[in-house]
C-alpha cells in the first residue's frame, strides 16, 4: 500500500470517527446522568437526516442547518419528557425497554412517513467541494469533521467545567438524590443534557450523511450501537473518552474495509466491546465503580 493510499484511508477513518464521536457524546452524557442506554439516540440521528432532506427542499442551506439542529433538539427533549420522565422511579429494565420502544417507534414512523426506500441526502455545496493536498483528494467535509468535532468538544468541556448548568450536570451524575436535595432542578438538568446530546447528534448526522449520501429508516440503528460501544470504550460518562472511542472505532472500521474484510467491519465493533469489557470494564477514562450493598 502506498503512502498516499494509507493517508487517504486515515483521513476517511478520522472523518468517520469524528461523526461517531459526536454521536457517542450523546450516549455518554445521558448514561452519565440517567444510567440509561438511550437506544433511541441512533434513531434521533436518523431522524435528523430526514429533517435535513425536507429542510433543504424548502430553504437554502444556511437556513436549513439551524432549523434541523433546532427540530432535532426538540425531538430529543420531547422523547425524554414523554418516554423517560414518567419512569424516573421505575426499575432500570423498564426504562431500557421504554428506550427500545421509542427506537422501534421512530423506525416504524420513519418507514411509514418516508417509506423504507433510501432517500438521497441533499448536497451542501460548501461541504462537498473537493480539495487536493499533495496526492490526497477529499471533500471539504472530510477535513472539516475532525476539526469541528474537536472544537465542539472543547466548548462542551468548558460548558461542563465552568458554568452553573455544567456544575449541576456533574452533581446530578454524581449523586442524583443529593443533587436534588441541594436544590438542583433535576428535570431541567436532564432536559438540557438531552438537548445537548441531540444537538451534537444532529451535527454528527449532517457530517455522516453528507459522506454516505442516502438515508433510510434503519440507517440510525447500527451507527447508534457502534457509538454506544465507542462511549463504553472511552469510559462511559467521560466526554474525552467518547471522542477517543469514536476515533478508534472510525479508524479501525476503515482499516478493516481497506484490508478487504468489509463484512466484518460491523462485527469488529462488538469484538472491541467484549474485549474492553473484559480487560478494563470501566473503559479507558472511566471512574472506578464500587458495589455498595
Amino acid at each position: 500500500m502506498s503512502l498516499t493510499t494509507f493517508l487517504q484511508q486515515c483521513l476517511t477513518g478520522i472523518s468517520l470517527g469524528g461523526a461517531y464521536a459526536l454521536i457517542a457524546i450523546g450516549y455518554t452524557m445521558v448514561y452519565g446522568i440517567l444510567r440509561l442506554i438511550n437506544f433511541a439516540h441512533g434513531d434521533i440521528f436518523m431522524m435528523a437526516g430526514y429533517f435535513m432532506i425536507f429542510a433543504m427542499a424548502s430553504f437554502p442551506w444556511f437556513i436549513a442547518l439551524p432549523v434541523v439542529l433546532l427540530i432535532t433538539t426538540f425531538l430529543g427533549v420531547g422523547i425524554e419528557r414523554v418516554a423517560y420522565k414518567p419512569l424516573r422511579s421505575a426499575p432500570r429494565m423498564s426504562v431500557m425497554i421504554s428506550a427500545i420502544g421509542v427506537s422501534y417507534l421512530l423506525q416504524n414512523l420513519a418507514t411509514y412517513l418516508f417509506t423504507a426506500l433510501p432517500k438521497a441526502y441533499p448536497e451542501i455545496p460548501v461541504l462537498k467541494r473537493i480539495f487536493l493536498i499533495g496526492g490526497l483528494s477529499a471533500s471539504f467535509v472530510t477535513f472539516f469533521t475532525p476539526v469541528l468535532t474537536v472544537f465542539l468538544v472543547y466548548i462542551l468541556i468548558m460548558l461542563i467545567q465552568h458554568t452553573r448548568i455544567g456544575m449541576a450536570m456533574r452533581a446530578v451524575s454524581r449523586d442524583y438524590e443529593t443533587a436534588s436535595l441541594m436544590g438542583i432542578d433535576i428535570n431541567r438538568t436532564i432536559s438540557i443534557t438531552f438537548a445537548i446530546g441531540s444537538l451534537l447528534a444532529a451535527v454528527g448526522s449532517i457530517l455522516y450523511f453528507t459522506d454516505r449520501m442516502t438515508v433510510f429508516p434503519f440507517s440510525g440503528s447500527l451507527p447508534g450501537l457502534k457509538c454506544f460501544v465507542a462511549a463504553v470504550f472511552g469510559g462511559i460518562g467521560s466526554i474525552p473518552g467518547a471522542v477517543v472511542g469514536g476515533f478508534v472505532l472510525g479508524l479501525g472500521e476503515t482499516a478493516l474495509v481497506a484490508a478487504g474484510y468489509s463484512t466484518f467491519s460491523d462485527a469488529f465493533t462488538f469484538v472491541l466491546l467484549i474485549v474492553i469489557l473484559l480487560v478494563r470494564p470501566t473503559g479507558l477514562f472511566g471512574e472506578k465503580i464500587t458495589n455498595k450493598v
Binding site: A83, P86, Y104, L105, N108, Y112, A267, V271, L273
Partner: protein, 371 residues
C-alpha cells in the same frame, strides 16, 4: 381436616378443568387440521404464535426469572434455524439451493430427521451461548444487553460472510426446507418445550434464578454460585431459542440472515413485555395476542374509505406505527403487562368469579351491616 378435604376437591376440579380445556383446544386444532385448506390462514397464525411463544418463554426465563437483560435471542434463533435447515434440506434439492457457490463437502450428505435436527440446532445454540456466556455474564445489566445484542449481530455477520457461502449460502439464504405436516407437530413441540421450561422454573433451580433476580448479593450470600446459575439459565434459554429458530425455519420453509435481525429480538421483547415480565402464561398469551393482532391490524395498511373519502392515514406502515405506540403505552402505563408476575391458575379464576357471585348475593340480601 375439612380444609384438606376442600383442597383435594379443588385439586380434582383443577385437573378436570385443565383436561377439559386441553381437550377443547385439541378439538379446535383437529377441526382446523381437518379443514386445512379452508383455514390455511388461521393455521399459519396459530403455528407462528406457538413458535413465538417458545422463544418468548425462553427470553422470559433469562430476562424475567433470572433478571439478566439479554437481547441475543435472534442470534441463537439464527443458529438453531441454520443448523436445522442444513440438516433437513433433502439431499436431492441441495444442488439447486447452493447453485451459486456450491456446497461444502462436509455437509453435502449430512442429513437428519427433523426432530433430531431441531434438537441439534438447539444444542448448537446452547453451546454457542455457553461460550459467549463466560465473558458476557460477568457484565451488569445495560452492558449485558449491549454485549448480547452485539453477539447476535456478530453471528448474523458470520452467517452472511462470503467465507461461509458454501455452508450457509451467504446472503442468498436457504430454501426448500421441509415444513411441518400438521399443526399438531408444532403444538406438541411447543408444548414440550414450554412444559420443560415450566418444570425448570418450578424446580430448585428456578428458585435460584428468582433469588438472583431479586438480589444478587443476597443470593450469593445464601450460597448460590452466581456465575454457574446465570450460565445455566442463559444456556437453557438459548437452547430453546435455538429450537424455536429451527421451528421458524421449518415454518417459513426458507430463511436468510435478514430474518434474524435485531428487530426480531425486539418483537419477542414486545411479546414478553405485553405478557408480563416473569410470567410464562403471560408470554404465551402475549405471543398469540401479538401475532394475531399483527395480522388483524393489517387493515391499517390498506387504504380506508369513510363515506367515499379516503382517510389519509391508512397506508403501508401504519400498522407498525400503531403497534409500536401500543408497546409504548404498555411500557409507560401498564408496566406489569397482562399478567404481571402471576400465572394462570384455575383457583384465581374461580376466586374471581366467586367474588362476583358473593357481591351479587350481598347486594341482594340486606344484612345488618356487621361486615
Amino acid at each position: 381436616m375439612d380444609q384438606s378435604f376442600h383442597a383435594m376437591g379443588e385439586r380434582r376440579r383443577n385437573i378436570v378443568l385443565s383436561l377439559c380445556l386441553a381437550g377443547l383446544l385439541l378439538a379446535c386444532c383437529g377441526y382446523l387440521q381437518a379443514n386445512k385448506y379452508e383455514y390455511n390462514y388461521a393455521i399459519s397464525i396459530i403455528e407462528r404464535s406457538l413458535i413465538y411463544a417458545v422463544v418468548a418463554v425462553s427470553m422470559n426465563l433469562v430476562n424475567g426469572f433470572t433478571g439478566l437483560f439479554s437481547l441475543g435471542q435472534a442470534g441463537f434463533m439464527a443458529i438453531g434455524a441454520y443448523v436445522t435447515a442444513i440438516l433437513t434440506i433433502p439431499t436431492a434439492n441441495r444442488p439447486s439451493v447452493y447453485y451459486i457457490s456450491g456446497i461444502h463437502p462436509w455437509i453435502e450428505n449430512l442429513h437428519a430427521p427433523a426432530l433430531l435436527a431441531l434438537i441439534l440446532g438447539g444444542l448448537a445454540a446452547a453451546a454457542c451461548a455457553a461460550l459467549i456466556g463466560i465473558p458476557v455474564l460477568r457484565l451488569k445489566s445495560d452492558y449485558l444487553a449491549i454485549a448480547t445484542l452485539g453477539f447476535a449481530e456478530i453471528i448474523r455477520a458470520l452467517i452472511a460472510a462470503p467465507m461461509m457461502d458454501r455452508i450457509t449460502n451467504g446472503s442468498y439464504g436457504l430454501k426448500s426446507i421441509p415444513g411441518f405436516s400438521s399443526i399438531f407437530q408444532v403444538l406438541a413441540l411447543a408444548a414440550c418445550s414450554i412444559g420443560l421450561m415450566v418444570l425448570l422454573i418450578n424446580s430448585s433451580y428456578g428458585r435460584m434464578f428468582k433469588a438472583i433476580r431479586e438480589d444478587e448479593i443476597a443470593a450469593e450470600a445464601m450460597g448460590i454460585n452466581l456465575f454457574r446459575t446465570k450460565e445455566l439459565s442463559f444456556v437453557i434459554s438459548s437452547f430453546f431459542a435455538g429450537i424455536s429458530g429451527g421451528m421458524l425455519a421449518m415454518f417459513m420453509r426458507s430463511i436468510d440472515s435478514k430474518t434474524f435481525q435485531v428487530s426480531l429480538t425486539y418483537d419477542i421483547l414486545l411479546i414478553v413485555v405485553i405478557g408480563g415480565i416473569g410470567s410464562v402464561t403471560g408470554s404465551v398469551l402475549g405471543a398469540f395476542l401479538v401475532t394475531a393482532g399483527r395480522e388483524i391490524l393489517r387493515f391499517f395498511d390498506e387504504p380506508f374509505f369513510l363515506g367515499g373519502v379516503q382517510v389519509p392515514l391508512f397506508r403501508p406502515g401504519f400498522r407498525m406505527v400503531i403497534f409500536s405506540l401500543l408497546l409504548m403505552i404498555v411500557v409507560l402505563f401498564y408496566s406489569k403487562g397482562l399478567m404481571g408476575t402471576n400465572e394462570f391458575s384455575w383457583n384465581s379464576i374461580c376466586r374471581f368469579f366467586g367474588r362476583k357471585e358473593r357481591k351479587k348475593q350481598e347486594g341482594r340480601v340486606p344484612h345488618d351491616g356487621a361486615k
